[in-house]
């Protein structure tokens, strides 16, 4: 017979200081991975510098140049897509592969803490890329800030959320760090190609250019371009980004594994 001398269950959950410490730890991990910073920060800057001179003098809409209508939206989308879809998932896949997530699974830290901490650090990284690209475009190439600043911030946040949600899906299904990078890159290039990464959505075959604004990369480029010139954001762009965020988060939450 067993008597009910059940120990009282201490229900302590890691508090704000644990979240902060974990986030700072993730930031140190990311900043010490120098190679991983080159693509999300360096590549968009390179594309910007390569095309800014010509695009900055090509007036497309009213007083707005191709730099504002197309290049900057593309570069900003590129920053959040590389970080969200390629970098962050490879970090999480590495953590899983190396046993770090397994080790954390036997502490009071929860899966959400690791995901949130890595997410926060990636957002900071994306903001760094954004500030870098904007500074260069505004200071050196005479670009103007978006006409609808508040809407631009909203679109940026929504697009970031969508890319990260996709990245979380990659992270939750990829069995190894290599496969995370592979799946992430395939997804990134597929969405990027359809979203105008290699020469504009107008250059795509008709049946593809029709779906581009419905996919997150193209939607982000188009929506950012719209707010830059002060136009309304096409509804399909917003729908696409919102749907990607919601579906991606739900799928990632359902599939995430510690090992």
């Amino acid at each position: 017979m067993t008597t009910a001398t059940r120990s009282p269950a201490p229900q302590h959950r890691p508090g704000p200081d644990a979240w902060l410490t974990l986030t700072v730890s993730e930031a140190k991990m990311v900043s010490r991975d120098t190679a991983g910073l080159i693509v999300p920060l360096g590549l968009p800057l390179l594309i910007l510098i390569m095309s800014a001179a010509a695009a900055g003098s090509e007036v497309l809409v009213g007083t707005h140049t191709a730099l504002e209508v197309f290049v900057l939206p593309l570069v900003i989308t590129l920053v959040i897509a590389t970080i969200g879809i390629v970098n962050m998932p490879s970090f999480l896949a590495y953590y899983r592969r190396s046993g770090i997530l397994r080790r954390l699974a036997v502490t009071p830290a929860s899966p959400s803490m690791v995901l949130v901490a890595q997410g926060v650090v990636s957002v900071l990284q994306a903001l760094l890329g954004l500030v870098l690209a904007l500074t260069v475009a505004l200071v050196f190439f005479g670009a103007n800030p978006p006409e609808r600043i508040a809407a631009a911030i909203g679109v940026f946040l929504l697009a970031t959320l969508a890319m990260y949600a996709l990245g979380m899906v990659v992270a939750s299904i990829a069995p190894t760090p290599n496969s995370a990078v592979a799946i992430g890159l395939v997804l990134f290039f597929a969405l990027g190609a359809l979203g105008g990464l290699f020469g504009g959505m107008a250059a795509l075959p008709d049946f593809l250019s029709g779906i581009a604004p419905w996919l997150p990369f193209g939607a982000s480029v188009e929506a950012l371009g719209a707010v830059w010139v002060g136009a309304d954001v096409p509804a399909e762009n917003l729908l696409s980004l919102a749907a990607t965020s919601v579906l991606g988060t739900a799928v990632a939450a359902a599939l995430f594994r510690w090992e």
Binding site: M1, T2, T3, T5, R6, S7, A9, P10, Q11, H12, R13, P14, D17, A18, L20, T21, L22, S25, K28, M29, R32, D33, S98, G99, I100, R102, R103, A105, V106, T107, P108, A109, W258
Partner: protein, 245 residues
Amino acid sequence: MTTTTAAVMADSLTKAYRGGTAVDGITLRIEPGEVFGILGTNGAGKTTTVEMIAGLRRPDSGEVRIFGLDPHRDRGAVRQILGVQLQQAYMHHALSVDELIDLYRSFYPDPRPAADLRALVGLEDQRRVRFEKLSGGQQQRLSIALALVGRPRLVILDELTTGLDPHARRRMWSTLEGLRKEDVTIVLVSHAMDEVERLCDRVALIDAGRVVALDTPAGLAAQGGADSLEDAFVTLTGRELEIDG
């Protein structure tokens, strides 16, 4: 009649993988304050057993209770009283000893002081060394320190001293003696005979996913009709313990 709650109650655990059955009906009752050894060859099912006890794997059938708590249903509570050193677990590789200790300390309400942890495993001189730059033995020692951060009532140590030099082994053993004095329950997975013989109150001999014998180290030696635990192991399982640690 039992009046105390067992530190670990594992009841008829089974677990099969694609390659076959890893654990085939293991039942263990480990008392509070006990140092309990789980001894067996590689592939005997030791690690799978303790991973089910720690709540890292769900048994196909059977039940686990840790101080009366279910590792899955009462996950939050169990994590507070359980410390685990996994056989192959790596830390955030770019973080230093101090940074990792601080990170793990932040998870618990009343963590051990960082200085105590460093002293416990002898890493006072490696405070700013990144995990990836530590030697294998130092990584192992840090891993053990992190298992003790939250002042656990139950510690599971999987291959405690594998890969440690003789000096570090002795040091680890005295650390365990210290824990015993604090009434911490310790489950020690090992295939090192001398370690089990020296440290454990009782030992379960596991072979092919089953408990083939369970007794004090001296009792096991007697059961096997042998002078030493090592000879008893061969008699009881028909296998040699490979020496690779």
